[in-house]
Amino acid sequence: MQDTVNKLKPEPDYKVVGTRPIRPDGVDKVTGRARFGADYNLSGQLSGLVLRSPYPHAMIKSIDVSKALALPGVKAVVTRDDFADQGSEFVPAGEMLINYRDVVRNVMAREKALYEGHAVAAVAATSPAIAKAALKLILVDYQVLPHVLDVEEAMAPGAPLLHEGMITAGVEPAPNAASNIAKRVEFTLGDVAKGFAAADVIIERSFETKPVHQGYIEPHACLASVSEDGQADLWVTTQGHWVVRAHCARLLGMDISKLRVTATEIGGGFGGKTVVYLEPLALALSAKARRPVKMVMSREDVFRATGPTSGAKMRIKIGATRDGRITAGEGELKYLAGAFQGSPVGPGAMCAFAPYDLENVKVVGYDVVSNRPKVAAYRAPGGPISGYAVESVIDELARALKLDPLEFRLKNAAREGTKAAYGPKFGPVGLIETLQAAKSHPHWTAPLKTNQGRGIASGFWFNIGGETTVSLALNEDGTLILMAGTPDIGGLRASLCMMVAEELGLEMGRIRVSIADTQSLGYNFLTGGSRSTFSSGMAVVEASRSIMKQACDRAAKLWELPADAVEYVDGTVRPAGPNAGQHPPLSLKAIAAMAGKTGGPIIGSSSINAHGAAPSFGTHLVDVEIDPETGRTTIIRYTVIQDAGRAIHPAYVEGQYQGGAAQGVGWALNEEYIYGPDGKLQNAGFLDYRVPVASDLPMIDTVIVEVPNPRHPYGVRGVGETPIVPPMGAIANAIADATGLRFSSLPMSPPRVLAAIEAARVTGDKNLRLKFF
């Protein structure tokens, strides 16, 4: 099966793939019809709200819910007592792993509250106002404990311990004392000592990044209904409803078959909607109250209790010869995991040097817990953090060697056959093509004005495949129903229809596509890892080819020809070879009309574990202007160049490039979690968690490079995540170009930039190249 699916079409002579049709769900989304997580209601539903810990670290001595339960209108309260403990078991969540022992504790604090905003109890009542009043009647007896937020402070001996039994994994021999270091990882290639000995110039720098939130505009929301016989329905905004089903069934001790999960339209996820928060609580409340329970997070709760991605402290060392050949790269990465282990330090370490063809690499990473919300996947989890640090050092090294930073990258770029430090040898990859496209792009050579600077950075993401099921039903009038199971966050339904239309030689308008609920289709892993167009695309191609095969079989039966004497061409079935012309061709519509008589309904389906995902490399160019008196950075020009393998719907590929760049601009310049000394988050809202607004950005130019993935029928690589890897490095390099100063911590907010400029003026730093008016 896989062989036929993976065969690459020889020429891109496509009729549909590569065009820009209007998406099938478009009209619903511009008219307000589309229903997102908070848009579902059931009669008799209750409002569910969560009581959250006001302390970053506290023992929960007791919880008294009796007063809350006595309040008229309160129908159920749940606490830690309503969830059985779970053993240690790691399962995939996006590209990261989660442990059920931790998940049950994250959705509802057990022994301790481990961060401000940690759920401690949940209430279901007949109105939001009553639920809110009930929260105030729950008495929690906390014993406040010392907290720790900073990664190095958390690693230090004597730091407040979050988990008494946490022994660092990946260290031999195992340490005999508990610490906040969950895990050590190491990736080594060659011999870095030898590599650095061969270098003419070595640059070693330390970096810091702050936790940043995915910032989806739609807060988490769900509606749960559990009936008296234990059968349950859940409507939820999620990147993967089969994954939600698995987590909820596990935490609530339900049979998987009893729980039907429907993915609503999803208002952004970026990795943050791959795990469960409210869903088990809503189900537990509904089971107790015997009424549907709707729960919607406030924006404040989204910031305090979901996401973000790690902040980190890092040390990066790179050496090169005078002629510009990198001889060794070394990194030490310390990533904040939040309250439970599972930071993306592993992928961060694997990505760090991936854009370069190196003989000697060593990257060591630490996964560190602290009194912050547990991190969730965020677009290329881990990659942008280490990428920022490495791309900054690469740039500084190029300048130290008096080499053009683009040429320096070209000279050392990963290519087909490069062995990555994390193991595999790359197949055909497009990094060199993106660098060459950058070099010939007018942006690269456009003149700059006073106090402006230009930066370049490259980035990498693996992309994944995974378990995928689709079904494609041929209707009696020749139209088709496509059911996919990976939630559509950014145009997936359009891309899938396009591949079906391409395969079957039909107009896209004849295919209606839906994201099926968990009852209507076999298992699908979530939308994440840039896998949905790749994996569901692979499956719809297989399902389409099954339809074509069945259509041929039916015609063969009708014509009394052997099955292989009939072929499917451009939406019609006709006799082939020696029998060509013997019968007039039959359209798919005609085949559909006679399906009942020729053997029954025609349905193509595909259940695969999609292999062959291929990495995507990108290169970004950015121009900035610095206000030397205020430290403000303005992005004045931005160009994203990335290998898509093949762009099924180029507009949505561009959209991924532009959106990733915009998130990167926020990460680089203004976004950060700000805590007070009390361990409480001070900017839990869009007012002071400053995502880019429309007036902060210029148009974002894009160049789609296409180096097809040979293991996908249309050459698709994932495109969604790579775009957020290069921006921070590119912007840091542009600011360095404009100011002459290097910034080693994010965000490069105006107070930080101004302080550095002022310090350089005071000390007479010769590198400072800003012009003051």
Binding site: G268, Q658, A694
Partner: protein, 162 residues
């Protein structure tokens, strides 16, 4: 909690609701009138997903009490397209958002459309900078705004020709 009777117009049609005094216009639209096209992203006026017009003025419906709507005329996303003999006709802004692929997840789209219409009603020929500043109160986390700004500019150009 005593409820107040509030009568107003939504998209031209008269409506009456019983409204708790602390309920926002957004709550009333979504929960009482079941007009869920208007979205809730923050409840603090920082994201623009709940944008509506009140007597033609663009506002965040999360920052207005439902009781304040008495006697007013509210415009929501559900009223942006128009009905003709041939059925629903999309507003040029809706059509351009589709053609320019100016949405990915779509949660911010109703707010952007309402805000963009309020702009073009006042300024039929906005510059890119004017579009960007007018829409600065509408957050989009998916698109980087590029295709949204292009769609609004293109719709404005079409409307000027009409």
């Amino acid at each position: 909690m005593a409820k107040t009777h509030v009568a107003f117009h939504v998209n031209g049609d008269p409506v009456e609701v019983l409204c708790e005094p602390q309920s926002t216009l957004l709550d009333v639209l979504r929960d009482e009138l079941e007009l869920t096209g208007t979205k809730e992203g923050c409840s603090t006026g920082d994201c623009g997903a709940c944008s509506v017009t009140v007597d033609g003025r663009l506002i965040c419906s999360c920052l207005m009490l439902g009781v304040e709507a008495a006697g007013k005329s509210v415009g929501t996303i559900e009223g942006l397209s128009s009905q003709s003999a041939a059925g629903e006709v999309l507003h040029p802004l809706q059509q351009k958002f589709l053609e320019h692929h100016a949405l990915q997840c779509g949660i911010c789209t109703p707010g952007f459309l309402i805000a963009s219409k309020a702009l073009l009603d006042r300024n039929p020929d906005p510059s890119e900078t004017e579009v960007r500043y007018w829409l600065a109160g509408n957050l989009c986390r998916c698109t980087g705004y590029d295709k949204i700004v292009r769609a609004v500019m293109d719709a404005a150009a079409d409307l000027r020709k009409a």
